[in-house]
Symmetry: C2
Subunit: 428 residues, 2 copies
């Protein structure tokens, strides 16, 4: 098979230009591996005249990505525009209708419209691949879909938003508050135009929902991801958690429970000595657990030109090689609707609170916790002479309901100053 595989690339930002550079610089290598030359037929972006540091002179230009997607001289539509709706979705739909395969880095589009797009693609006998959409250069989509296909997946976890991990690790290493590091991240260009996509956990939640679908054979259910961002995490909690042997991570967890699919993207504590606990800066990590394979941990760059372009190129070479796998690992019409677990699996919790300095305060709090059926594993009280010194409690495993009852009982005492902080401790 020596017919070239012809690309139409929509979106010429960092990733799009990264893909073009690889195609230009590594033509022989790609041909040897894919057994077909990889060529770019046409490109599209919002602005034509802009120095992007790559030579686009050999490629046809389209102002309209939908027109690009329909061109007769492309086999694969490479969607690198982003955005859950609008031009990205319109062009992807047009590409599928025109009989093109699609390679995309667009987590938002697939998290919201993946089921419809995958169904349309399969009806047209086309595939959508999206390795670059989840965890950048880490090949988690392929590993989960293909390598672990013989496993009943038990749990998928991941630190999949580099910006949040950068903020959390920088707060700890430089002893800075959330706002100061947030501002630094903004200056470094690490934040999306809407920063809540990052720090609110939405971007990482999109990724988790995609992995959950593959892992459990269910339709993508982003709306059912329980989302909590990192905005409430204080330097005080980071330091006190470290004192107890934990680090704070914005951690995604998807697992199938007896009560349905549980998907959470929220700040969790993990042991400092675990691979997740050791993860620094903007690096991503994904943990896959299967009944046969046990635990697989993968670490790598979650964003950036090279890593993301690497993931896009992997999908393109797959298509050149004739590798055609259903978007979510099995035909979209066979995916089940996920029944969402309303209550998460029991876990230990970290509780921080300030108590009024009066006799019996601690006894009232511990009684409230015990009355809710939650038992205490470890407790620390700092600085007895300082009336605002915190009390830390690590509970044994407790259900969410029991924890909420404990918090409610604590609020009913008259000894709390402010609201207590509760953070789940995930077993990793």
């Amino acid at each position: 098979m020596t017919d070239p595989i012809r690309l139409g690339i929509a979106g010429l930002g960092t990733v799009g230009c990264g893909v073009i550079k690889i195609v230009q610089r590594r033509a022989d290598m790609l041909t040897a591996r894919g057994r077909r030359p990889v060529v770019i037929s046409a490109v599209s972006a919002r602005t034509r005249n802009k120095d992007r540091g790559v030579n686009l002179g050999d490629y046809a230009w389209e102002d309209d990505p939908v027109a690009l997607a329909k061109r007769d001289d492309i086999d694969v539509f490479v969607e690198l525009m982003g955005g859950s709706d609008g031009p990205a979705k319109a062009a992807t739909e047009a590409a599928i209708a025109a009989g093109k395969d699609v390679v995309t880095a667009n987590k938002a589009m697939l998290a919201l419209h993946g089921q419809a797009l995958a169904t349309a693609a399969e009806e047209n006998n086309r595939v959508i691949r999206f390795e670059a959409a989840v965890a950048g250069g880490i090949p988690v989509v392929k590993v989960l879909t293909e390598s672990l296909a013989g496993n009943e997946i038990q749990r998928v976890m991941g630190v999949m938003n580099g910006t949040c991990n950068f903020i959390l690790t920088k707060m700890e290493s430089e002893n800075l508050g959330y706002n100061a590091v947030f501002d630094e991240a903004a200056q470094l260009g690490y934040l999306e135009a809407d920063p809540n996509l990052d720090v609110g956990g939405i971007d990482a939640g999109h990724k988790l929902a995609l992995l959950g679908s593959i892992a459990f054979g269910t339709e993508v259910a982003f709306d059912d991801v329980e989302l909590e961002g990192i905005q409430r995490i204080t330097i005080q909690d980071i330091e006190l958690a470290a004192d107890m042997g934990y680090r704070v991570k914005l951690l995604g967890v998807a697992q199938m429970t007896g009560r349905g699919l549980e998907q959470r993207m929220s700040p969790c504590l993990v042991p400092v000595v675990s691979p997740l606990g050791q993860l620094e800066n903007a690096t991503n990590m994904v943990v896959l657990e299967g009944d046969a394979v046990g635990q697989i941990v993968m670490r790598g760059a979650g964003a950036g030109e090279g890593p993301t372009a690497s993931a896009v190129m992997g999908d393109i070479i797959d298509l050149a090689r004739g590798i055609r796998v259903s978007t979510f690992g099995q035909p979209a019409k066979t995916l089940k609707k996920a029944k969402t677990a309303k209550v998460s699996i029991p876990a230990p919790y970290y509780l921080r609170m300030e108590l009024k300095d009066k006799p019996g305060a601690l006894a009232k709090i511990t009684a409230a916790i015990g009355d809710a059926g939650v038992s205490i594993d470890r407790m620390r009280q700092y600085g007895h002479t300082d009336p605002t010194a915190p009390v830390l409690i690590v509970t044994h495993k407790a259900s969410r309901t029991a924890l909420e009852n404990a918090l409610s009982g604590m609020a009913d005492t008259d000894v709390l100053i402010g609201e207590p902080v509760a953070i789940r401790i995930e077993a990793v």
Copy 2:
């Protein structure tokens, strides 16, 4: 496509039975993912009457794996016998000649005969897949071959023999000598019938040679892997290295240099705080470095029923899905003969020695090192009052030749007691 994919499994040890259990227990899941039922037509092993804990009653039996490999009612020959030659190779050759695809966990066979077998398979339009042969459950073959296909690979590293890592970490954690932990590993059944395959680095060297071929598009060159086992590693070196911030690992490194392909499987020091340095017990880790993706780290179980069977099943579902990739990532006839680098890339070295307790001893040693063009980064002398107390030196980066000249110069002084120990420090 609803025709089943029909397996003939040769070898009913731990892994073979693990594969059978998955096929029996997860039939619906495998059919959903592979879009074809996975069925076992026939099996073969040395002993027929043996309780293996799985029901073989539905499968035809062959005493001869070659006969199994040729059966008309199989599509895929699953070779789980092991051994570089003999029945495994004969049956694999027969399977290819009979038009079967092959899935194998046999690193020795592929390291020694991979080029010939891959060529034969490709001439017959068949594929050989071997995810289970390298690092057990870690899907490094697929990730390197497929996910990173858009990368020029710069370096591949791995701790890929769980037994050696078990021995080295157990020596440190329990402060035991090599022989004591070796005996414990033997009692736990962790050692191959010929233990030198493990502790001599041969098994891990086979795996490295396979990854080197994929990474650099070269014919498998196991004979060119520089092999050194862990037998000379003492508890003293483990403890002193830890004192300097390092752990000892049996580390494989393959990289393309200006002077050719460098492949080493040998004890190396890595920083305690690195992912490789944190690797405990029998767990494996592979580090892949590509020009676009940067560094990808993968960790998981390198052996055992479940993890190895998971890897075998991944290959089988690939074949069910029609995923057909050249054995080493590109057609065997296009692989280049590797030019082997005779001299390894410069690195810092750890040197431990005992010096006679006489004036000027250290000066003579440091002079010998300096005369060889090797400069010293750090030095420690322990227990000045103990005449046999060691001197530790960590050098700056030095070429192998310079290091050997330094060791030779040191030997020419009259102040050494015994032979100095030198261990490479790998930048990870």
